[in-house]
């Protein structure tokens, strides 16, 4: 019997190419005759473009073309659409190259194509743009003030949409009769995703067939093909092939349809030569979609028994200058619907106002809405527990949704399918030694050392999602996923998935599952993804959907292969198909082990069809389109332990423990890796990272010197364990794990830092907790105590 691979910490099959430097990222590619693009970008956050003079740039030796927005518009290239609509939403145009106004620093005003990148970049400096700088606004709440400069002329109040969920009246009533209430004003800091591979695109036009190929750094090549074909460029969809080769991390930032992809496609046809563009990091900082950026008033009400009775949230969610592909979904359905968390809160109301500002567009960044929800909810819980004089863990315990309450209908639309929160919490508390930690904290405080313990019990809704549901909420896309399993005559198997792996190890984990299902060696399975020319239609990877939706499609396609194989085996073995069992890698007559056919024999016969059932199609491949029945709901407990040095304000992470429940774990190595990376990104938000804009819309932290990513010495070895509560509605019971770390860790670290600062009477500070911010807060609140 072949060893079962589900659950095995198999080394990754994708690694040999990466550890030997033979991966194939977009910028690694060179095509014969290839030329290079450089973008001319606005240095102003808001300016009218009065005139563009390209003559100097155009006559620079080696320059082949200088493309303006007007030229592309005249050529019939349309605005880039958004992929999610709310009732009443304003969708101002977003042209790949702007021609009337620049609306954020980095907005493209022209593109130079030249023989080399160096020449293109030199010539980009020679494009003379006559700007009339205009007043700009960078903060969401400032954009809403009367008289604020309008980002789009026909939206004078800057409001893209407002959105709300929940029963406001019931919530207001609960607050009116509450035993206690707490209120926090929170700023969820704006982040720059910073995948380590800068974005890049390479386009080729094939004149003879009038076809295009676009290689691009994408999490979802089919979405690009659809948007470019149907909306932006009018290329017939079957004449455009989009390939996302090896992609160096995405975290949401490589979902969207970016302008540069349109520009290289346009230029490739115009010049009849392949055109490549690769972002410099300084360009990434101002053009990759940003994340978070909320200003929120969050309130919680409890009764005298310490039960949460209501949560009320009012958020201003900064969208930046333009709507990108999923931006409207992030601060709404992926945010407001998560505000029940793991708790039985009966009444929740959330209102969101989403303004445009003169900043880089904001869209999904790892977790996308759910970290923002978790952060505010878990901060409220800690502050309320303190207000009630309760241990934050005991306050949580009192309010957790009990295991017998599932399926659990929250007051904010979601129906949680499964969960076992208290058992998970208990496991985490035991592993971390919570009681001892609290004792240690007491002792340290006596010595003037400030330890903080932050606990978070989180839920996430991922595995996007039933298509009819997301359609009813405004998605302009389906969210099912496809799989094609193709068996070759030699019994080797190609698996095509519509999801995309850019670090998540699908080539390994998905092959493990297919090998198990087909009972064949894992080496005989290869996963193919990221190429619209090879796979059936698919929606890509984001929202932790690849395992719950993509892999479900694969499993169900694989099971079709098994069913067909049984029919072939029955014919060959002269038995009834119902009597064929699939065991030990063979198809055999039940109870007669020597009457058996190997998978190879079946595959071969399926292709020869010499000795074959009359009513069966030859060949052995199967396609499955899987539309999930619900979201999946991973959950868990994260505990951070920090020490704050009151002299310097520096926060040091001492320990970090997570107990996550993503259902059955396919490959623990990969799942844990996802958690580690997510935690580091969450720590980044809590302690280090912030895209800071000045009032004029200039980014002040636009490089790795000013914008601090977590480095090796910011992290500790993470303690990790899991509980297993299978998802009841997909074939393997699996749930997503890609975003859990980020969703929980920002709040866990924030709670830990605030816990450490409690002796100073500090209730809340906004992230990131830089040494300066903490030092100042300590000075400000208890100068006497801080001094000793």
């Amino acid at each position: 019997m072949a060893e079962k691979l589900f659950g095995k910490a198999m080394k990754r099959v994708e690694d040999p190419r990466f550890i030997t430097g033979t991966g194939n990222y977009t910028d690694d590619m060179t095509l014969p005759g290839m030329v290079h693009a450089a973008m001319v970008r606005s240095p102003y956050a808001h300016a009218r473009i009065k005139k563009i003079d390209v003559s100097k740039a155009r006559s620079h030796p080696g320059v082949l073309a200088v493309i303006t927005g007007q030229e592309m518009k005249d050529a019939g290239i349309n605005s880039i659409p958004t992929g999610w609509l709310h009732p009443g939403i304003k969708t101002p145009p977003h042209y790949a190259i702007t021609f009337d106004k620049a609306r954020h620093v980095g907005d493209i005003v022209a593109a130079v194509i030249a023989e080399t990148r160096q020449i293109a970049e030199d010539a980009a400096q020679l494009v003379e743009v006559d700007y009339e700088p205009l007043p700009a606004v960078s903060l969401g709440s400032d954009a809403l003030k009367p008289g604020a400069p309008a980002v789009h002329d026909d939206i004078p109040d800057n409001i893209c949409f407002t959105w709300s969920i929940g029963d406001k009246e019931a919530v207001d009533k609960a607050f009116a009769s509450a035993y206690k209430t707490v209120k926090l004003n929170l700023r969820n800091n704006r982040l720059v995703p910073n995948a380590m591979e800068p974005r890049a695109s390479l386009a080729q036009y094939h004149k003879a067939s009038d076809e295009y190929t676009l290689w691009t750094t994408s999490q979802n090549p089919h979405i690009h093909r659809l948007l470019i074909a149907a909306f932006i460029m009018g290329i017939p969809e079957h004449k455009l092939r989009v390939i996302a080769p090896d992609v160096g991390g995405g975290f949401g930032s490589k979902i969207y349809q970016y302008p540069e992809e349109i520009i290289v496609l346009y230029a490739a046809k115009k010049l009849g030569r392949p055109v490549k563009w690769t972002a410099r990091r300084s360009e990434s900082f101002v053009t990759d979609s940003h994340g978070r950026d909320h200003e929120t008033v969050a309130e919680m009400a409890v009764d005298q028994n310490g039960k949460i009775t209501a949560v009320r949230v009012n958020t201003i969610a900064n969208l930046g200058a333009y709507l990108t592909t999923f931006a409207p979904a992030v601060p709404t359905y992926l945010y407001g619907c998560l505000l029940a968390g793991t708790y039985t809160t009966p009444h929740i109301y959330c209102h969101v106002t989403a303004p445009f500002t003169h900043t880089t567009p904001v869209d999904a960044y790892r977790g996308a809405g759910r970290p923002e929800a978790t952060y505010l909810l878990e901060r409220l819980v800690d502050v309320m527990a303190h207000e009630l004089g309760m241990d934050p863990v005991e306050f949580r315990r009192k309010n957790l949704i009990p295991p017998d309450a599932f399926p659990y209908q929250t007051p904010v639309a979601l129906q949680y399918d499964s969960g076992n929160y208290e058992a998970n919490l208990d496991k985490a508390l035991e592993l971390v030694g919570y009681k001892q930690l609290r004792q240690q904290q007491e002792e340290w405080r006596k010595q003037g050392r400030y330890m903080g313990i932050g606990v978070v019990t989180y839920i996430e809704a991922c595995g996007l999602a039933p298509s009819a549901l997301v359609g009813s909420l405004g998605a302009q896309a389906g969210q099912w996923e496809s799989a094609l399993v193709r068996v070759m005559p030699t019994g080797k198997v190609e698996v095509f998935t519509g999801t995309h792996s850019h670090g998540q190890g699908h080539e390994t984990a998905f092959a493990q599952v297919v090998a198990d299902e087909l009972q064949i060696p894992v080496e005989d399975v290869v996963l193919v993804h990221g190429d619209t020319g090879r796979m059936p239609y698919g929606w890509g990877s984001y929202g932790s959907r690849s395992a719950p939706t993509g892999l479900s499609a694969i499993v169900l396609a694989t099971r079709k292969i098994i069913d067909k194989s049984k029919k072939i085996a029955a014919h060959l073995l002269e038995a009834a198909p119902e009597d064929i069992v699939h065991e030990d890698g063979k198809f055999m007559v039940k109870g007669v082990p020597d009457k058996a056919k190997t998978f190879f024999e079946i595959a071969l016969q399926a292709h020869l069809a010499h000795n074959y059932p009359a009513d069966l199609e030859p060949g052995l491949e199967a396609t499955h389109f899987y539309d999930p029945k619900n979201f999946v709901y991973p959950f868990g407990t994260h505990i951070a332990v920090v020490e704050v040095d009151p002299e310097t304000g520096k926060v040091r992470l001492l320990r970090y423990l997570s107990v996550d429940d993503c259902g059955p774990v396919i490959n623990p190595l990969i799942a844990e890796g996802q958690v580690h990376g997510g935690i580091a990104q969450g720590l980044g938000q809590a302690l280090l990272e912030e895209a800071v804009y000045d009032k004029e819309g200039q980014i002040l932290s636009g490089n790795f010197l000013e914008y601090t990513l977590p480095r090796a010495d910011d992290m500790v070895q993470i303690e990790h364990d899991h509980t297993v509560t299978p998802c009841p509605h997909n074939p393997l019971g699996v749930k997503g794990i890609g975003e859990a770390g980020t969703i929980a860790s920002t709040a866990a670290i924030a709670n830990a830092v605030m816990d450490a600062l409690r002796p100073f009477g500090i209730v809340h500070l906004d992230m990131p907790y830089t040494p300066e911010k903490i030092w100042r807060a300590i000075q400000h609140s208890r100068p006497a105590q801080a001094a000793d």
Partner: protein, 166 residues
């Protein structure tokens, strides 16, 4: 355009004579002139370490040097460190310990880690973290990178099969 300059470098054991523009960065020379695309570019401020190679046996960020400055030297890139059939212990450690996800930082990370082990064959966890401070990884949270380096250190010390975190 400036005069081109003649340089001679040995890269992964192979001697190259090239004419380069004086302002050509070493990393672009490696990637574009020699087609060694395993060395990556992750930033334009010398902060990320994705471009790390060994120059005369020492780790350098190849985006901080002009190709002409490498004239006469010997360079090892990720492609020359080991091959799939005979991996360098650090490469093996990264594979065994899942020290990479998207793989983009990995070549630079491996070159930096190999350099550390040349200088300090048995580094502590703290020393590993400190030595890798100049290399950014957005995927792994560094947890398994630390274990990968520990694995390699053990392997190089002959302690084969000892799990890194035992």
């Amino acid at each position: 355009m400036a005069e081109k300059v003649q340089i001679k470098v040995v890269v992964n054991g192979v001697e190259h004579h090239s004419e380069v523009e004086p302002r050509l960065l070493l990393v672009h020379y490696l990637r574009e002139t020699l087609g060694l695309t395993g060395t990556h570019v992750g930033c334009d401020t010398s902060q990320c370490g994705a471009c790390t190679v060994h120059l005369d046996g020492q780790a350098v960020k190849s985006c901080t040097l002009f190709a002409v400055q490498a004239d006469g030297s010997s360079i090892t890139t990720i492609e020359g460190l080991g091959s799939v059939d005979s991996l360098h212990p650090v490469q093996e450690g990264f594979w065994e310990m899942h020290g990479l996800q998207c793989g983009f930082c990995t070549p630079g990370m491996i070159m930096a880690a190999a350099d550390l082990l040349n200088r300090n064959p048995q580094p502590s966890e703290e020393e590993i973290r400190h030595a890798l401070e100049g290399n950014l990884c957005r995927c792994t949270g560094y947890h398994n990178i630390v274990r990968a380096v520990q694995y390699a250190a053990n392997k190089m010390a002959g302690k084969v099969g000892v799990a890194a975190d035992d």
